[in-house]
Symmetry: C2
């Protein structure tokens, strides 16, 4: 569990949770972060457990992740499966046990959001559809977008929504930051697909050119490299539009949107 959780990574999801929290918490950017930290850590734990399981030989069969051998390469498949299971449940335990000074009704809402985004309506559902699309040459843009809305965007959405809920946001506000995050999530995935084509394994910290080698449906294959870049930029613009009502308060989330579209690994 430690090996994979502490293997690095950009920590995009916890940062989204914190930025969304600060938009709505009393005190704004000066608000103490303690109330949101368990949620911020939980989304990273869920992200990490999904990577551990996705990398397994029975799934995507990846040997490297974040520049290091994958969990099962080091500890074996059995321990990797259990580390993922334990990390998933620990994420819920951590939120339920460590969130202080927050209305329990809001804590339960965060647990509902987190758990919903892992199951059939989230990561697992997206991964199943992804596996079923493997080797197919006729995967449509609609299916690809469905996959990534569930596989990638769901957890980004919940990172923002969870942070906002802990910060005391209204239902409308939670919806707005959720919409923002889904659009950013799709842009993020498109950027990932583009990087897989254009960057080296060393730069990425994971095996490059893998999508092409495994004949995987990707945005570059469906839209071309330039078309993919444009689509990502369009989504980021729409995402930013979702936050227009908040003005200065949304500046950290907006900066994250730029970071995501401009990143090179």
């Amino acid at each position: 569990m430690r090996y994979s959780l502490l293997a690095g990574g950009k920590r995009v999801r916890p940062i989204l949770a914190i930025a969304a929290f600060q938009m709505f918490a009393q005190g704004g950017a000066q608000a103490a972060l303690e109330p949101v930290m368990p949620t911020a850590l939980a989304v990273e734990m869920i992200h990490t457990m999904s990577l551990i399981h996705d990398d397994l030989p029975a799934m995507d069969d990846d040997d490297f992740r974040r520049g290091k051998p994958t969990n099962h390469m080091v500890y074996g498949e059995d321990i990797a499966i259990l580390a993922g299971d334990a990390m998933l449940s620990y994420a819920f335990e951590y939120v339920a046990r460590e969130t202080r000074d927050v209305d329990p009704v809001r804590v339960l809402e965060v647990i509902r959001l987190l758990s919903n985004c892992v199951g059939p309506e989230g990561l697992a559902g997206g991964q199943v559809m992804d596996l079923e699309s493997e080797g197919k040459t006729d995967v449509s843009l609609e299916t690809l977008t469905w996959i990534h809305t569930h596989k990638t965007a769901a957890l980004l959405r919940v990172s923002c929504a969870g942070g906002a809920v802990i910060g005391g946001a209204s239902e409308d506000d939670v919806q707005r930051v959720s919409d923002f995050a889904v659009k950013i999530g799709l842009a993020f995935q498109i950027a990932d697909d583009v990087l897989d084509v254009t960057q080296s394994t060393e730069m990425l910290g994971k095996t490059a050119g893998k999508d092409e080698a495994t004949n995987k449906a990707t945005y570059p294959r469906l839209l071309g490299l330039e078309g993919s870049r444009q689509q990502a930029e369009r989504l980021v613009a729409e995402a930013k539009e979702c936050l227009a009502p908040y003005g200065e308060r949304s500046k950290n989330l907006l900066a994250l949107a730029d970071f995501i579209i401009n990143r090179s690994n």
Copy 2:
């Protein structure tokens, strides 16, 4: 998820949750069961997901469970891993979303109990130790008991504790039903080991004689068949003693204890 959850099974854990709930809920055995049902279903979901993952080739490599081919035999390893992940998170979602007319503080306490019993201090920890003991001929009674306290007894404990918490039990009461359940859990495991030796695959609904074939540490190997039976009876007597203060109110839990020690599959 449906295939494994609806494959039958004795539903011991939900029944424990319901019986413990009725001991403390207003109205007792006449209390409406709605408040405890999400918890009762969640413990069965967690039990089922742990079976799906334990049966995987990388773990215990079992082909049959509850008289049917195991999940990965029907759907493949990838889907079996995802079905387990999705069912684990769905258990938390279900409790968080569907528990009504219960103080949110108590709902959060149930989520804490459930999540704690899956992770390093529960099922996953027990399974890791079990895997590490494989093929070893010098596993002590102490280690074997540690394994089963985590692998088997933890979820039975939480089934009782969760039901009691939803029913409004005090901390002391929760502790007592937890102690009861741990002892019953160990007796349950001993009975399971004995059945593996004495029953046919057909009777069990899963591969019989597997412990012996894989050289697994079991109670019959350490204590003999008769010694194991005696140990199980002693644990059941101690378990019943935990519930002595409750008199008539504990009659359903006591009946379950007898069922567990007398079952033949």
